[in-house]
Amino acid sequence: MSDNEDLELQALQRQLDDAFETTRPRGGFEDELWSRMQARRPLSRRVAEFFGGLVGTMREVPAVPAAAVAVVLISAIGIGLIALSGIHLGGGGGTTAGSAPLRSEAGSSRSNATSFGRLPSPSLQQPPTAATAPQPTKGATDQSAQSVLYLGPATLVWAGPQPSVLITSAPVYRFREPTEADAGQFATALGASNSNHRAGTLGEFSGPGFVLGVVGSSRQPLSEPRFYITPDQSRLPPPGPTPTDTAAAFLSVHSLVPAWSYVVVTDQLADTTRVVYLRQFEVPTYGSAYVVNTYGVRYGLEVDVRRGQPLQAFGPLPLPLDVANYPVISSDQAINLAFVSKPSAPASIQPEPTVQLTTFELVYALVNAGDHSFYEPAYLLSGTFTSNGTTYVKRVLVPAVDPSQRSS
């Protein structure tokens, strides 16, 4: 077999890896199915397990007075029965309840907060399979192309230049999970009306020549609320001169050009060009920091273009962001913390590799905290190494927010 054929087959394997890794059920399916499976178990068993777990928890706290245990138990009985019966209590009491207008993320929509309290920490996750790492979009980064992502234990050595990140604080952004009402407002603003409630979405709407959908946050893989918009293929304008032009025109027509900072890059796969608006946050005295996903790869709003026509756009739902400034650790501290950080995945390479970390970058990473989420600053360190003929990229994500301000 010629070298060319070899390379073609390797490229095909990488496409297959990516195809299988990115093919996932819609948001909400995981929870729905789990609920269905639980619901098929006998009620008596569920009640027993609920209280079994509760008693187990109490045993771990021996100093709890008996009277307090009784009060908790009585309360728990009520809560447990309500939860297990599927009854939903009213929505009162939630601090973020309500239907605030869904606005764009322009500066005017941000509200400044003194603090969000202690923050959960961002982290990387191993892709579902031990296959090729999700590939950075061309132009997004020049590192790790054609490499396998490795998040397991390794002996780390800093071998790069002195990092030029010299900041003492950075903004943290917070948004609350959108409701169906928010999704409806977003659709209305785009000229779409409610067409149906599609399971697993916050709404799917149809407008003149397009279908729009909104999905909430997902935990696996971690992502923020997103929208997708698909044009009616029978009502498309003439093909654009370049995929980037086509994408820009498509977004502009639908008022979906991002209000946030971005850098446009493209990626080619078969006959489809993906135009990606890589998202950035501005950090005072530093500049722009890319948002990275749970694998440490830059991402943003994507528009797929084929034969000069838009196929679909898919990206973060425009949401109002609260912002608060937090103290951050220095780059030296970050490097030292990277050396002692807990690996994000178990060991899969023996012997444990030694990795020279050579790149250091301030990034933003998403952290979900239930009904709200954060974009938090973090330092992404990376380097490559080879083991048994395979090139790996090792990434370490160190939360930038000072440890005294973090809950985990």
Binding site: L9, Q13, A19, P25, F29, D232, R274
Partner: protein
């Protein structure tokens, strides 16, 4: 606890809890996405893939009490159930669906926009080519790229590890030829 031999859900779950094996919830979280992708690569709609995936985990949930960790890996065990469920689907629906997908392996326009968003549109054509491969080649590709080792692929396909590697390599070449043929046309 219910007696051995009962096949109700309670028995299966309780056995799993008391035996030395990971909680089923861990398997569920680790494998749901992979099983879905494996199924989705072979059927034409996201709805079918969800139905089959649901059936896989319902079956696995019931059978987990009988899972023997020393005999097989959780991955091979789950993918065996998934493979059987997918084959059952094809038996129930005939080969018409696969034929249709082979012919119409273009994105479905507005027919399934949510599915398109979730599944990354640019890969759908590639996966449609996979779906159009002969059954054993398709199996080799889908199982391997679902994260199984060649040993596990061989076990599931009732052949040796080396045979699985050869079959996979042939399948890869066939897939490349299929993709190139479309590019030419």
């Amino acid at each position: 606890m219910a007696g051995v031999g009962s096949n109700n859900h309670e028995t299966a779950y309780d056995s799993a809890v008391f035996a030395d094996r990971p909680p089923f919830e861990d398997l569920y979280r680790d494998f749901l996405g992979r099983i879905y992708a494996y199924v989705r690569a072979q059927v034409s709609t996201a709805a079918d893939a969800e139905d089959i995936t649901a059936q896989v985990f319902m079956n696995a949930y019931q059978a987990y009490g009988r899972f023997e960790a020393r005999n097989t890996t959780p991955a091979a065990w789950l993918f065996r159930i998934a493979r059987n469920a997918t084959l059952d689907h094809f038996r129930a629906h005939g080969r018409r669906e696969r034929l249709r997908r082979t012919i119409e392996h273009q994105p479905q326009g507005v027919e399934d926009p949510a599915g398109m968003a979730e599944e990354r549109i640019q890969y759908r054509a590639l996966l449609a080519h996979v779906a159009g491969l002969p059954e054993r080649q398709r199996d080799a590709i889908t199982l391997r790229h679902s994260g199984l080792s060649f040993e596990e692929v061989g076990t599931l396909m009732a052949c040796s590890e080396d045979a699985a590697k050869m079959l996979y390599h042939r399948a890869l070449k066939a897939l490349r030829a299929s993709v190139q043929a479309e590019d030419v046309s």
